[in-house]
Structures are given as structure tokens and as C-alpha cells.
Symmetry: C2
Subunit: 336 residues, 2 copies
DNA sequence: CTGAAAGCGCTAACAA
DNA sequence: TTGTTAGCGCTTTCAG
């Protein structure tokens, strides 16, 4: 394999200077005579020249690379968001490097350092441990995945969880349910408890009592969902419907409920949240409040891109995308 | 934000030449007096110097970046494989750029071109459209995801699908099933039909007749699974058990079966393949022949890394990881 | 053990 | 419209 041709080889072959080659490489408006341009293009083709992005980046300080830091790409929620992000940046000819933080600040920090060393043009991150100052200190245009109030000076894009939960609850209410359980996810701690607040607001608004035995707090996983369902089943007065803070919890609950012989939705309605990939594949497809994962990825990419090219306002922007109810089959009116 | 300090700034601050700084930057054995080394380190810390990976790469022709091209990261199968791949390369301080080919040759080719332009050190790919020659022509160390005989000169890592299918079928047989359906996925076309071959071999070996009405051919998606189940239900003599070419097909089949009132596994046993993320979350957890997705990613990364550092044999290696039966609850002995 | 000097391949003033 | 000339920040001989 002979050494790859450089811009100089092309210049020679085309009988021009390397600046001229560089100019046509940059395409568009660069003032180069049509004839010269064609000559250069021919030479490029003939030699099979490919511009060395490294050299170019070193000179221009633009790498056309961005880093996307999420907790875990093997989690379908993040995978879908990542897909939206990538698809959008791909159109601008950017490459995206993925980092899985595993909710670990140390790992996250490593990725940020890497982004700096490699002079990435931008960063999209769902902050696990770093704070606003630390991210600021990276000095790379960034966008926050999720509406985190503690990152208010950054562009942020997330979904309207609060109203999503409210709407899910109202949906159940409209179906006729008056005793509605709520599975809380433990991981939510620290930041907000938006879902719980929405639940409380809903109960208050509808004049429903808040029964502690109906709002189990469990880890955000399948086991958590199962455990929550056990608790709910033991409640002195059982709920007729149930909202789970995410689909995984909902699926766990569904599993246990049907093992215990409950029929869904006849005996118990269940509504999840997120609409992750598996939600449509349960034996009884799950009704859920979908989060616009892919769209969040797209919007985050747009914000970040604008910031990179300097086409964004100085202040952090905030984009809250609406959730959307996906009616499948796990929710129905209560039995009489 | 002042300009970032360069190796020269460090050199000045430490009172040495930039060559020396470069030497200590490269760590290890480089012959630099301990005292000088410390001096440099102090200067580095003091100035907050971070080596510019671009400049370094331009000079050394090593980027510490690899590209991973899979059909779709939002598909849990690939997401898990990607995770294994990333985790492994991360330990070597590499970054991985993801490309989603969407089974499209054009997109795939674009990613390969990008890998060349950016002088990536390696490529891992599940080839959608490119062939051996085309990939060869990229001249970047590569590893093939999947045991593709048409890429025999490359390192390849995949799973033992043939024996996996056989084992799944034998499992059903051992449970007592003698009439076993088989859902074929249409996408498999072109390359091999390994699964079908395994089915045929199994039937032959066990002296079971091959009943065309029991081996529907459908698209590789949820709808396909449902459709297949419809066909199976219409069969003159129904199967008591069913192997689906992948979990999605199995889940679709399960959905339709239970809508039709069949009880699983009492009336029908179902075994899937892959063990993707959602398989454990169906209302009745799916028994499935797991493919070592994460491990494939890890092994592919290892092969690729060895190839990159020149620590691999000249000929393409081939690693076929075994599948593993995950017994959950969708399969049981047939009703009498 | 350390420094000087020559690039890696490209871009961007500045001239022409 | 094109060429000349300096670098971008780092690594790597080659001397010393």
C-alpha cells in the first residue's frame, strides 16, 4: 500500500499550487476558475486523493466530531435518543463518539477529558455527576439531555414529564378509575420527584386521598416493578389502576400481577411511561405515556449544532417536548 | 478563555526543550532523568496542559479511534454488542464512533469513507452491502461482526447459530415435543439459512417429518411473528411447540397466541433466539437461546485491537462463540 | 540524557 | 484568480 496522496501530489498532478487545491477542496464559493477547478477534480479522482481530516482539523481547530455521553447505550431509552442525535448530526457530516457513563461521575469526567484532548466540537450529556461549573470549565459547546434546572445556563432539551404524568393519570381517571396506584422509582432521588409531585397534584385536583399503601417506592428495574406490585396487592384496599414511573417498572408489575392471577386490564389497568422498545412487545401490549426520545436526540443535536457554528443566542435555551399517550391494551375502564 | 498551553509553553515553564516534554508525555521508558521528568510534570500541572491529540495523531498516524458499523443502535441486539465493544476498547483508551448502516450499502460506504478521512485505526463492521474486496480496499484493520464465510480473509467473530438452533430444538424434543414449528425470518435470505438447515438436520436426525405448514416464512419483526402464529394456528395439525428465529418473532407469536386464547406454555411452548433485552420482560418471560452479544462485541474489540497493534497472525481468525439456553417460562412439556 | 531541526498534511493570510 | 509562505502542536531522527 503506497503512501496516500496528499494535497501536494494533487497540486503537482493538476499543475497548480496546493493552495488552489485546498480552495477547491473547501468547495463552494472559493474563487477558483471553473477550468482550474475541473483540472483539480480530475487529478483528485485520478490519484484517489482523500483529504486528511486530521491535518485539516489541526489547522482549523474544527474536528466535526461530537461526543454523546449517556448512562448506557444498551438501555433502549438512551439508544433511541442516541439514534435521533446521530441521525441529525450525520446530516451535517459530523461523527459522534459515544460514551457510557454508567451513572458514574468518574467515567463521565474521563469522557469529558477525552473530548477536550481530541478537540471535539461539541458535547451532549445527561449529567450523572458533574455539575454546571465543571461542565462549563470544559469550554466546549454543550447541550444537556434532560431538563435539569441545575444546568440552567446551558441549552437543555427534555420532555414534559410533569404534564405527561398528569395526563396519564387523567386518562385513567377519565376511564373511571378512582383508586389509582403509583409506582415511584428510587433512582429519581436527588432531582425533583417531578412524577410524584404530579401525582400529588392530580390527587389534590381530583379530590382523591393519597394513600401511602398505594405509592410504593422501589428501584428502577424489573424486580422493582415486581416488588411494587406485591406491595400494591397487599394494600388493604387495592387500586383498580396503576401508573408506573417507567415502562420497566410497569412490565415488572404486569409480570407479577399476572402470575398472581390478575387479568389486565380487566382486574387492573396499568400505564407505563417512556414507551421504550419492548413496551409494544409484551404479551398484552403496554399502554404508556411516550417520551419523545428520538426527538429529544434530534433537538439536542440541533441546539448543539447551532451553538457550535455560533448560531445560537448567548443564554441557555430550554426545550421541553411533550409526552404523548400511546394507547395499547393494558388500560381499560374498571370492572364494576 | 486564553489559548490552551502547548508543549512549548510547558517546555519554557520547565526550562527544557519541547522534545523533552514530548518524551515525558510519552511516559514509560523514555530516557529522561527523574528530576527533569518531575520538573516537566509540575509544569504540566501548573499550566493545566493537555496534549493535543490531533497534532499527535497527525504526526504518528495513530488516532486511537475506531469505527463500529452496525445496522441500528436502537435495536437492542446491536446496542448490547456495541456496549461490549466499547467497554473493551475503552480500556485501551480508544474512542469509538458509531455508524448505523440501516442495512444500506450506501450509508455503510459513507461511514467507511469517513473512517478513512479521519484516519481511524480500525473498523468493526456487520457488512450490509460491501463485499470483501471493497472492505479490503479501505486499508484499515477490520473485524467482521458475524461469521460471514464471504469475508474469510478477515477476523470474524460471531455465534454458533447452527448449534444454537439445534440445541433449542433438542431442548423442546427432550421436553417431549414431537411436533415442533419453526418461524423463519425473511431477512436471513441471501446468506446461509443456517437456522433452517439446523431445523432440517434436527428433523432428519430425530426422524420427524418436515411439514411445510409448520415452517412459515415471515419478515423479521413483530408483525411477522404474529402473522407466523396465525399461519401456525391454521395448520391442519397444530404444533405443540415452536422455535422462532429470533426473540422478536417469538414475542409477536406469543402475543397473537394469547390473543387467540392459547395458554403458554400449557398449550404451546415457544423458544426464541438472541435473548434481547425485552425477552425477560414479557408477561410470561421468554425462554430463549441466548446469543453472546456483549461477548461478541468484546471479542471483536480484542481481535481488532491486536490487529491494530500488529499483534495478530496474518490470516483472518474466526471466533464462534456458543449460544446458551436461557430457561424462562415459555416452554414446558406438552399437554398429554 | 537532552536539544535542534525537520516535518505530518492542511489552511489562511498576504502578495502578486 | 492563483501562488508563496507561515504555521497548527506534536514526534522523531540525529547530534551532542
Amino acid at each position: 500500500m503506497r503512501p496516500r496522496p496528499t494535497i501536494i501530489d494533487v497540486a503537482h498532478a493538476a499543475g497548480v499550487s496546493k493552495s488552489t487545491v485546498s480552495r477547491v477542496l473547501q468547495g463552494d464559493d472559493s474563487y477558483v476558475k471553473q477550468e482550474t477547478r475541473d483540472q483539480v477534480h480530475r487529478a483528485i479522482r485520478r490519484l484517489g486523493f482523500e483529504r486528511n481530516a486530521l491535518a485539516s482539523s489541526l489547522r482549523t481547530a474544527r474536528t466535526y466530531m461530537v461526543m454523546l455521553i449517556t448512562p448506557d447505550i444498551s438501555n433502549p431509552f438512551w439508544a433511541e435518543l442516541a439514534r435521533g442525535f446521530q441521525d441529525t448530526f450525520e446530516k451535517q457530516n459530523y461523527s459522534v463518539v459515544l460514551g457510557n457513563s454508567d451513572w458514574d461521575k468518574h467515567r463521565e469526567t474521563e469522557f469529558l477529558a477525552k473530548a477536550r484532548r481530541n478537540r471535539f466540537d461539541g458535547i451532549a450529556i445527561n449529567p450523572a455527576g458533574v455539575n454546571k461549573q465543571e461542565l462549563r470549565a470544559i469550554h466546549i459547546p454543550s447541550v444537556i439531555l434532560g431538563v435539569r434546572e441545575d444546568f440552567s445556563t446551558f441549552d437543555r432539551v427534555g420532555s414534559d414529564t410533569y404534564n405527561g404524568v398528569l395526563a396519564a393519570l387523567e386518562y385513567l381517571y377519565a376511564l373511571g378509575h378512582r383508586r389509582i396506584g403509583f409506582i415511584r422509582g428510587k433512582h429519581e432521588s436527588g432531582r425533583g420527584y417531578v412524577r410524584l409531585r404530579a401525582y400529588q397534584e392530580f390527587c389534590k385536583h381530583r379530590g382523591l386521598p393519597i394513600d401511602e399503601s398505594l405509592i410504593p417506592l422501589v428501584p428502577f428495574d424489573l424486580q422493582g416493578g415486581r416488588r411494587a406490585m406485591e406491595i400494591l396487592l397487599d394494600a388493604p384496599r387495592r387500586a383498580t389502576a396503576l401508573f408506573a414511573s417507567n415502562d420497566i417498572l410497569a412490565m415488572g408489575a404486569m409480570q407479577l400481577a399476572s402470575e398472581r392471577g390478575l387479568r389486565i386490564p380487566a382486574d387492573l389497568s396499568i400505564v407505563g411511561m417512556d414507551d421504550i422498545y419492548p413496551a409494544a412487545m409484551t404479551t398484552l401490549p403496554l399502554t404508556t405515556m411516550a417520551k419523545p426520545k428520538y426527538e429529544i436526540g434530534c433537538q439536542a443535536a440541533k441546539y448543539l449544532f447551532e451553538r457550535i457554528v455560533g448560531d445560537a443566542p448567548p443564554n441557555g435555551r430550554r426545550c421541553v417536548l411533550p409526552c404523548r399517550l400511546v394507547e395499547r391494551q393494558s388500560a381499560a375502564p374498571p370492572a364494576l
